[in-house]
């Protein structure tokens, strides 16, 4: 976003919103901002890198559970067990949980866990040139498997209930409105940093390379680059952002359950980006806010029709505005200029080409 637009947004989110919104609505906005952080990562991986990740919830969950484990331990106090363990019949703290008592370790894990999983998966599938539709289906299956894994380990993860009743966040009292406002500001700042960082990345040579790989992976390979490596990096960055967003989601909402990271939740993370505009970082942020706000409004006013609206949104955006709201102007221009000498350069034709079979 241009400096002016960025400044206006920053003022709007950092100053105006905390002043005019009721605590309840500010909480909601904080939640939307968490999703917007994920959206920034998706815009990088999908918009720039052409990797449609239907499993972003997994990374959101990894970051979220890492944070949730720490907060539950802090809540329980030293030597005590988190509440759900006692009703799950766990008698001593599982080994996996122990290091999460350390806040620094937790913060590192919030980023590292998603990155490691993304690198592992990415280097496996991208090296084998699994992409496009295949990659989408695999990442979706990953989300499905991850949820089953989490639900199945009730003593370790809280099962379907997830981690609930989180009341403090690094000294902030989550029952206190002023502290919650501070939490909101932290989320907004993290979003700002994520946006600026990814914008920088997208504008760099690396960003160009990523777009080049999206539009012609084989060609890039014959320029001497390893596309698997480049894609894995983008995938890992988007995973890290999702992890951070998940970690912030936990104190904002006060709980985290496997339903927040399953197949449907992962798709909902995407649709905001699609609505806002996958090729524009700012559009992705706006879209994520708009979509989640619409979800709240509809479920308050017309719960029965929300699925129709959500379904229709997917259809309408894909049919009439594949570049999203942010791309509307460009799309209109292309329509007018269709007969002109300019080819539509802003819509990458190759971004979405069918799975090639190369042997």
């Amino acid at each position: 976003m241009a400096p002016a637009g960025l400044a206006v947004s920053a003022v709007l989110l950092l100053v105006v919103a905390p002043l005019v919104l009721s605590p309840f609505r500010l909480d909601l906005l904080a939640k939307y901002l968490c999703y917007a952080i994920v959206a920034v990562g998706i815009a990088l991986a999908w918009g720039r890198g052409g990797m449609l990740t239907l499993g972003q919830g997994v990374f959101f969950g990894l970051g979220g559970y890492a944070m949730g484990m720490h907060l539950k331990l802090a809540e329980a106090g030293p030597g005590k067990l988190p509440d759900f363990m006692s009703w799950s019949g766990v008698e001593s703290l599982p080994l996996l949980w122990k290091p999460f008592a350390n806040p620094v370790f937790t913060l590192v894990m919030v980023v590292l866990l998603p990155v490691v999983v993304a690198v592992l998966l990415g280097s496996l599938v991208f090296r084998q040139r699994v992409r496009g539709a295949y990659f989408a289906v695999l990442s979706q299956a990953l989300a499905a498997a991850f949820v089953i894994l989490l639900v199945g380990q009730q003593g370790l993860t809280g099962g379907t209930n997830g981690l609930t009743n989180i009341q403090h966040f690094f000294g902030l009292d989550l029952y206190d409105d002023a502290d919650r406002r501070l939490l909101y500001l932290i989320v907004a700042l993290v979003l700002g940093l994520a946006y600026l960082g990814v914008r920088q990345l997208a504008a760099s040579r690396y960003g160009q390379l990523l777009v080049a790989i999206r539009d012609g992976e084989d060609r890039v390979r014959f320029l001497g680059y390893d596309p698997a490596l480049v894609k894995t990096v983008a995938f890992a960055v988007s995973a890290a952002l999702a992890g951070v967003a998940g970690a912030l989601f936990v104190p904002v909402v006060g709980l985290l359950t496997p339903a927040n990271l399953g197949v449907v939740a992962s798709l909902e993370l995407l649709i905001g980006v699609a609505i806002g505009g996958r090729y524009s970082l700012a559009g992705a942020v706006g879209g994520a806010l708009l979509f989640n706000y619409a979800k709240t409004v509809f479920s308050e006013e017309l719960p029965d029709s929300w699925l129709y609206v959500q379904g229709a949104l997917f259809v309408v955006v894909m049919v009439w505005a594949p570049r999203g709201i942010a791309g509307l102007a460009g799309q209109l221009r292309d329509r007018w200029a269709r007969r002109g000498p300019l080819r539509p350069v802003s819509y990458p034709a190759g971004a979405d080409r069918p799975q090639e079979v190369s042997t």
């Binding site: 160009q208 777009v211 390979r221 001497g224 680059y225 350069v345």
Partner: protein, 248 residues
Amino acid sequence: MSEALLEVRGLNVVFSGFHALTDLDFTLRRGELRFLIGPNGAGKTTLIDVITGLTRPASGSVRFDGRELVGRREHRIVRAGVGRTFQTSVVFEELSVVDNLDLAAGFRRPLPALLRRRRGVSDAVAAALDTIGLGDLADRPAGVLSHGQRQWLEIGMLVVQRPRLLLLDEPVAGMSRDERDRTGELLRTVARDHTVLVVEHDMDFLRRFASTVTVLHEGRLLCQGTVAQVQADPRVQEVYLGRAKEAA
């Protein structure tokens, strides 16, 4: 200058029972500009595909500067110094001409160095831009280029990588006469300090710009020599004329 840069020995490629290349031996000397011709299905593109790692041979070896290429991954072969173009040119439409060249030039940059924005134009890129004559269009997105310009940009993207062997797959296909001439000139310039192998159909282009020619037919080496020698070879005439008769 006369030692072998590329040595292909006993190459066999089979596609689901179809023998695309059979026991092919082929040598390219350092500094050479060689044309590779043959009727459709002769195995010209397959040979290039094998050299660049796109296709795995059933047997045989490809040695480049004494090192085996078969079994290496594509980007490693490029890094070893073998560059190629494709029949249908692929340039990055969203990036500007300069960025396309810059991207190609930077293939040896470590990942951290990639994280910075491009500032200015490096000498190598400027030189390549000059060679391919697209200086005026440097900052336009590559998507607006004409077919011919795209081919030149592709060649530029190769040259800027300073490869030791260039493989060009039908560089003048679909070009106007004017564009063909310019491409030929470009080819001569490039061939001055590179080893080049060109796959080409266009006999007229061949006569004007080729020195030595290799003829493939049905996956085997038919003959090799100067343009005049090859044209005089009865087997070549048969292969081409036979086809011509069939077609007629």
